[in-house]
């Protein structure tokens, strides 16, 4: 059963998976272009770290984008078919969703491997100034976890109804509106910063996306 579900999802999301894998493979290699083996054109350590840090912003963006697109592709045919297939199968609902979730996770593996392969290749080819090291495995592990979290978040949202999504968006909007009204009224009420701290700092759900994403560092 799992193979059937996986095959179906592969058909729906193969373009996303292939493009994600290519992008994941290319990103680390592009980021170390300044670390040339030619000493006359090679970047100094400070400049190189600055370039690597700039490219590093793209890793969480790529993870979030691929997670979002694969999660949407996982549920889109079911939504279009009004879940007739799922309801006609002799499976409990939780098991069907679990199969979908697991198949989506499996489809993320090529992108994860793409980043790992790109990072290893980039590390092997770059000539680094003394004092700098490469961290391909740590970067790839972090990317894999961020991709998994992004996929799980969007899978949960996508699995819900429009009403559920509306409620979530409504809560976020209400927090912002209360904050704006409180600020306008001169009331000392800080809602956004605590919420942001809970979500973005460890052990918050999106903490994996924050911080520096460095293939090369001290």
């Amino acid at each position: 059963m799992f193979r059937v579900v996986l095959y179906g999802q592969w058909k729906w999301s193969r373009i996303v998976v292939i493009l994600g894998t290519v992008a994941g493979f290319a990103l680390p290699i592009l980021s170390v272009q300044g670390a040339s083996s030619d000493p006359t054109s090679a970047m100094k350590a400070g400049e190189l770290l600055s370039v690597i840090q700039s490219w590093g912003v793209l890793y969480p963006v790529l993870a979030a984008a691929i997670g979002l697109l694969v999660a949407i592709a996982t549920w889109a045919p079911d939504h279009r078919g009004r879940h007739v297939l799922a309801l006609s199968l002799p499976l409990p609902r939780w098991r069907y969703v679990l199969l979908r979730f697991a198949a989506g996770l499996v489809l993320l593996v090529p992108t994860m491997l793409g980043v790992l392969a790109g990072a290893v290749l980039a590390s092997a080819t770059a000539t680094l100034p003394p004092g700098l090291e490469t961290y391909p495995v740590a970067l790839a592990v972090r990317f894999a976890l961020a991709l998994g979290v992004a996929y799980a978040v969007f899978f949960a949202i996508s699995a819900g109804t429009t009403r559920t999504a509306g409620i979530i968006l409504g809560i976020i909007g209400a927090v912002i509106v209360v904050q704006v009204v409180a600020s306008a009224a001169g009331i000392e009420l800080d809602l956004t910063n605590p919420v942001q701290a809970v979500v973005m700092n460890w052990p918050g759900p999106l903490a994996i996306f924050t911080g520096r994403w460095m293939l090369i560092d001290v």
Binding site: V149, P205, I208
Partner: protein
């Protein structure tokens, strides 16, 4: 004609100066009267300062912790508690030299955090009275600066002496500087060249910082990226162009013309070196350092720490290398936490309301 020229010039000068010569006593008298006026004005200014200080000090509580003395207005500021935490740290760093604080009371103005009233001007250090004990103690330690007792130390350091031994994060910052600073001396220091470390920290006499700190490519980059505008405005446009085109001689000439060249390792690095010296030499290091005002900073610190300069530099370098920062900011439990969130959100998907029969 040429024989007569000097004599003619002398005659002209004497003719022009003759009336001035007669005015010399008058000019001297005017200069003397200006000096008297200046001395009088200075006395008034000192008196004014003294009265202002006296007014600021009046009605204040005196809080003492060891030799640290604070004059503070009445408020809930937990100054006594914080001072009792700060003093042992200050004494551990400065040793007997810390007694100098007995002659240098700190004037503190505890400020109400909930008021919009203007804080009265003056020399007092302003601190919100709701500051907690731990940050207040840290602030008191940072204020305990004996740098002004030694102008050479103050000039070399380029900032206040902070009597702390817990500068692990500070050492990590210096590690990053050693690796990333665009300086030949810093890179060589990282590779265990002690002479380069001495140069990078300006421990010895810096006869030519531009060549001791930087290589040719770095000199050109410094001129082009940091100083080009200033140098062009000050009439060095042609030399700047020559430097840009690759003439290292021009770059050197330009950098040598600057009074203050950016050092490769900054205040933080020098402070950690001072800290290392005090840690190696023990509690009386600072006292010994103040007692030997002659020599370069490196030799004075080494003598005060009772080790050779090379040993001190080696010890500092080891401290810095040991404080290498964590490169990938993923906490130990971070992977498990992320996996936990994947499970949580996956479970939320399982509990979807999509198929719930209403």
């Amino acid at each position: 004609m040429s024989d007569r020229l000097p004599a003619t010039c002398c005659a002209v000068v004497l003719t022009l100066c003759a009336p001035l010569a007669g005015q010399i006593p008058q000019l001297r008298a005017r200069a003397d009267s200006l000096l008297v006026e200046w001395q009088l004005a200075k006395q008034f200014a000192d008196l004014q300062d003294s009265l202002r200080l006296g007014r600021e000090r009046a009605g204040r509580d005196t809080i003492r912790a060891g030799a640290l003395t604070y004059l503070v207005n009445r408020s809930p500021l937990p100054l006594a508690q914080a001072a009792s935490i700060a003093w042992p740290q200050v004494e551990r760093f400065y040793g007997p030299a810390a007694q100098a604080f007995a002659q240098r009371p700190f004037l503190i103005q505890a400020v109400d955090p909930d008021t919009n009233e203007d804080v009265p001007p003056g020399r007092a250090i302003k601190i919100l009275w709701n500051t907690e004990v731990a940050p207040l103690a840290r602030a008191l330690v940072a204020m305990a600066d004996l740098g002004p007792l030694d102008p050479g130390l103050r000039d070399w350091l380029g900032g206040v002496v902070v009597p702390r031994f817990d500068s692990g994060p500070g050492h990590a910052v210096v590690y990053v500087q050693l690796v990333t600073a665009p300086s030949l001396a810093a890179r060589r220091c990282y590779r265990d060249d002690r002479a380069a470390c001495r140069d990078a920290l300006s421990l010895s006499a810096m006869t030519d910082p531009a060549s001791q700190w930087y290589g040719p490519a770095e000199r050109r980059a410094l001129v082009v990226q940091q100083y080009a505008d200033f140098l062009r405005r000050s009439g060095h446009g042609q030399t700047v162009r020559s430097c840009e085109q690759g003439s290292d001689g021009s770059c050197l000439e330009l950098l040598r013309s600057l009074r203050n060249l950016i050092p490769p390792l900054d205040y933080q690095a020098r402070l950690t070196f001072l800290e290392t010296a005090v840690r190696v030499g023990g509690a009386e290091t600072f006292q010994r350092f103040l007692a030997t005002p002659a020599g370069t900073i490196g030799s004075r610190l080494a003598a005060a720490a009772r080790v050779s300069q090379d040993s001190l530099v080696e010890r500092w370098r080891n401290d810095v290398l040991a404080a290498r920062p964590t490169p990938v900011p993923l906490p130990v439990l971070g992977a498990w936490v992320a996996l936990g969130w994947i499970v949580v959100f996956g479970t939320c998907g399982l509990r979807s309301s999509r198929w719930r029969v209403s």
